[in-house]
Every structure is written in C-alpha cells, then in structure tokens.
Subunit: 359 residues, 2 copies
C-alpha cells in the first residue's frame, strides 16, 4: 500500500475507499470503536465519582446492554462539494445534514456539532456568510447546536474556495442496538425514498446540463425520521445507513459484507424520480451508484416491515418509502438485483470514481 | 462584514480572526457553549433513564458545580501546515497534539479523537502512511484513541497535498472549573517553557534558512502536564491556554479581555531559546507573536504559584517553566510588558498575518 499515489477514486466511497481504510488507516488506528466501521463510533462513559481523580472511561463492548452508563455516538465528515451552492442545498447545509445523519444512523439522538472551515484566500465574505446562515438554519431545523469551531485560511491556489469539516456528538437512546453487522436472513430492506437526487443534481449543475424536470438535491437532516421509525418498531430495527457516496449499491454491499448475509433487491421497487432517470440515461449512469444526502436504508425484522414502512411514509422525508428487498441466507456477502425483466445480477460496490467532490 | 473577501490574516489567530468569529460566525451560531469562546465547548449530559424515550441533554450552566452529571469537552481544529514534515513533527502529530491540548486546556481528560482527511489527488501513499503512523504514535503517547474518521479526495490543484481535521471529546474532571474569564487581580501568570519554537521552525524550514543552532517544533501533547498541575494545586488553576497561532501576546490579550483584568508581563522572565531569538532577530519578528504547539499558559491563585511552578518543572514538558507576570486590577483588558530596559509598553493582539499555514 505504500507504493503509488492517491487517486480520485480513493475518495469515491466505493471499493478503493474501502481498500484505503482497511489497508492503510486501520493498520495504524486500532481502536475497537473504529474497527467496527459503522457511521459513528459508539463510546460509553461511566459516571464520574465526585471523589475520583480522573473519570474512568472505556469503549463500550459492542452490543452490550446500555446499562446505567451514557453511550455517546461520535462521528466526522469533511465536505468538499463543488459547486458550493446548488439546487436544494449548499456546502453548509450538507455539512450539517451529513453529520446529523451519520449520528442518526447509529440510533443516536444528535446533539452537538463542531465546524471547521478551511478557506481559500479571496473567498467573498458574502459567500461565507451565506454558508454560515445555511448551517445555522439547518442546525435549528435538526435541533442540534454548533458548539465549537475553527477557521484556517490558505493562500490562493492551495484550496478550492471552501472546505468544511463537521464532527458530531450524540447520545444513544437507551436499549437501542443498531449496527451494520446485525442484518438477519428474512429481514426486510426498506428505503426511505427516491435515489440519486443529490448526485445527479451536482453532476448536471456542474456540467451545465439542463433537463426538462428540475433536479434538486435531497439533502435533509434525518434525525426526525429515525426517531419516528425507532418509536414505531422498538427493538426491530437492525441496521440503519444513509446511502451517500457510492450510492445504494455500495451501502447494501457494506451491510451484506458486515452481516455475512445476502441481500436481494427488486429493481422495480426502488423509487427513482423521472428527472433522475432521464439524467442517468443521458449520462450513462446507474442510479444505484449515485449519491444521496437525505435518504436512509433500514433493515428491520420481517414482522415489523409494514409498521416501519407506515412510520416512514407518515414523515415528510419518507413519503416515498418502499420495501425494496430482503436479507437472505444465500449468496452471503453479496447483493443480488432482480431486474425489471426478471433477470438476476450481482450488484458490486462502486469501483472507480463516478464524480469527484459530490459531497 | 458581507463586503470584501477573505484575507490570509483572517486565519492568523490574531485580530482579524477574532473579528471574523465575532462579526460573522457568532451572528449565526448562537449556542451558549460557543459564545463562551474557550478552546473547548463544555457540555453536560444527564443520565439516560432506562425508561426514557430520549436522553435529556442541556448545555451546562457556565461554572455551575459539576453535580452528578458528566461534563464533556468537545473541540475541533483543522491543520493545513506546510511543509507536511518538519523538524520535531509533522501534520499528523500536530493534528493529534493540537486537539489533545485544546481539550486539556478546559481541564478535561482527552479521550477520543476523530480524524478527517482532505487529500489532493497525487499525494504519495507513503506520505499518507507516514502521517497516519505519526498520528497513531502520538495518540498512544497521549493516551487517546482515534475512534472515527473520514477521507475525501479532491482533484489536483484543488488542495495542497493534505489537510487534516481532528475533533476531540474529553471528560471534565469533577469539580474543575477553568475558563478564560476567571483570571483575578493578583493571580500569577505561568508559562510552561520557551516560546516561538514551533513557528520559527516552520518559517525557517519553509524559507530554506539555516541557523547554527538547530530549531525544532515543540509540538507535544500536554494532557499529562495539565494532569500534574491540576493535581498539585487543586482548585487553584483559574485559566489554561496553549498559545498557538498569534503567540503568547495574543493569548494573554484574550485572557485579559475575557477576564476584564490587566496582565503585566516581565520580558526578561519569558524563556526564549537562543536559536529562536537569533532567528527572530534575523527575520525581524517578535517571539511574543510566534506560534507554539507544546506550551501552556496557566493563571493560578497567588498562593499556589510556587507549587504550580514546581509541578510544571517536574514534568518533561515543563522543565523550563517560569512565572512570567501577574494579573492586575489596572489597565483592564490590556497586556503590559516590562521590557529588559525597564520600559513599559502595551502588547496588542497580533494584527495582520505573520506567516500563513503555521499549523
């Protein structure tokens, strides 16, 4: 791994990204919480004793009962999207939603965000102001607080206008146990709405293409949607993921791999808007690999599938939710798609890079 | 503030950085924890009740007693230093130390870090590997864990090799109350060692200058030093800061301003190495404004000054600690330097930008 150079595809969220994490970072960073490879690290803190010199702390045993100790979720993402402003959102809204969503997918209630800005010399202050206002509005909508921050400025040409990192801290709901390795044969696979909206918006906006139907990013904070889902079918949600970089196909492959199960998806059940379908056809792309920023995949116990679907559909961010497939005890670690024509094909992770700087 | 563009000096850590935070970010981000403007946000979590639907949480009342609830410290910094590798450290060591130190300055025990990488296409994998190994070694030395991460890749020319963001979570020691607004007239001002080492190392390394005495960054994790200090004089440490961007002068101005007190410093008491002094003279710089990455300023109750000094000096990162001045009830909000010649002059925050990308 120490030969060669970083390629754009290392940032795709697909196969090369996974290789980079597993073959480089995980050889050095060996925390049990990190090795879990979920969207957030889950950390347990023990109550400080008033007399104690130092608070004790430990990484929680995966899937241990919550007990009396608070369990924290902690996550981070950097945002390098280009353009900074696009239909349906901007880099600031994306930076808040992305981290809120990563926390939410662990079953945590997101509470606090940090914001780190790397700014290229010459960025108009009006642009920065617009981004900050958008972050504040999105944080308010999601019910989280931006509590700490940092600003660095680099010389012209050393960055492209503005990059934002957000990290987030949330509190796990008591008793909730969600993880990428918990899918079981028979479980239902739910998707909260149409796929490909964010990615196709960025691509067409950047390429200057125009389509009859307006495309807009689906960028949205999903903590409210997760809250109603978990309340509707308590204990029945096994996995939650937001299919961002690499799209639905890559996310399902991660879940199949982590759970050592198969996943079978019905292509006709996967919602895709007409505008996204048209844009994908024009550009020769498969919506299964296109990034989303306001959708979730939920894998739930079979007996809870209908109630989970009803809960998602009752929420503004889940109106077009659908049951798109199920977990199987065959073709372990693989995702199989039943196409509209009745054929079956294996759907891999994204390989290569579809488009850099999608988020 | 919405006219104009971002200048390099907005990232200096000095006056323009403060203006940007106060006139732009704080108009939008209004969390009480953020408004406090300490190095870390202090957050209080209440115990989850096993039956509760959601955990309650609130921002702690500043300086309220710790009570039974855990108090978290949360902070973030991005690192854009150039060059990536320099005598005494590298961007990875800096990224771990910087966030460990920000948590430590709140009186917290640092526990968990996130790491977000923004990588320019074409970065040699060997460089990334070297940085990851350095981060892992530094984290181990500091006793913290890197528990979550993210990697983004941007196209050639859209970033300069590698930027790293780290955010950190720590637990406040019970009963510890430290803040930038707690300096009181009569308090002693302690400095843990020589100033200017990091900044002058980067400047001379980047400019290709060579000096007889080798310069090396002081980059170090200070959580151990803070632990022995707090144990030696419990309840007596009022303020802790690490004088990074903007140097000692800017940090002292922040503390004087926040505490509405004066600070008087004795120039001859401030430790400066011969190598730094020579480099500063050559480049026409004042070491008071040069960045440090392994030093702290402690403001302590007068009766604890000698014990605090002894505790610092007994630690490997505080061998050259000194009492450099005191807090006064006059010239409120200002820092006054008594020079080697006996003159007195007001020392302002850094204005303008000394050198971009020092950290």
């Amino acid at each position: 791994m120490t030969q060669g150079v970083i390629l754009l595809a290392h940032g795709s969220g697909g196969k090369l990204s996974h290789d980079l994490v597993e073959q480089l970072f995980l050889r050095h960073f060996t925390s049990p919480a990190l090795l879990n490879l979920d969207d957030s690290a889950i950390l347990e803190i023990q109550n400080p004793s008033p007399e104690g010199d130092l608070c004790k702390s430990r990484i929680s045993v995966p899937h241990a009962s919550g007990g009396q100790n608070a369990r924290l979720a902690f996550t981070t993402d950097s945002y390098v999207v280009s353009p900074l402003f696009f239909p349906g959102g901007d880099i600031g809204k994306l930076a808040v939603c992305g981290t809120v969503n990563d926390l939410s997918m662990s079953g945590a209630r997101p509470l606090w965000l940090s914001a780190g800005f790397i700014i290229e010399e010459g960025l108009p202050l009006a642009d920065l102001e617009r981004v900050a206002a958008s972050m504040a509005a999105t944080a308010e909508q999601a019910g989280v607080q931006i509590v700490t921050g940092d600003t660095k400025v680099v010389d012209r040409g050393s960055a492209d206008r503005l990059f934002i990192n957000t990290a987030g801290v949330g509190l796990l709901r008591p008793g909730v146990e969600i993880g990428g390795d918990r899918a079981r044969p028979g479980d239902a696979v739910l998707l909260s709405g149409t796929i490909g909206d964010h990615g196709m918006t960025i691509m067409t906006h950047r390429e200057g293409l125009r389509f009859d139907s307006p495309l807009a990013s689906d960028c949205a904070p999903l903590n409210g949607l997760v809250a109603v889902l978990l309340a509707a079918v308590p204990g029945m949600v096994h996995c939650l993921r937001d299919p961002t970089r690499g799209g639905l196909a890559t996310t399902l492959n991660e879940l199949a791999g982590r759970s050592r199960a198969g996943i079978a998806i019905d292509e006709t059940a996967v919602p895709v808007s007409e505008a996204v379908r048209a844009a994908c056809e024009l550009l020769g792309l498969d919506p299964l690999y296109v990034a989303n920023e306001g959708k979730l995949v939920a894998i739930v116990a079979p007996e809870a599938a209908e109630a989970a679907l009803a809960a998602l559909r009752a929420h503004e961010y889940g109106r077009q939710a659908a049951i798109v497939g199920q977990v199987t005890g065959t073709h372990l670690g693989r995702v199989v798609l039943r196409t509209a024509l009745g054929a079956r094909r294996v759907v891999d992770m994204l390989t290569g890079e579809q488009l850099p700087r999608i988020c």
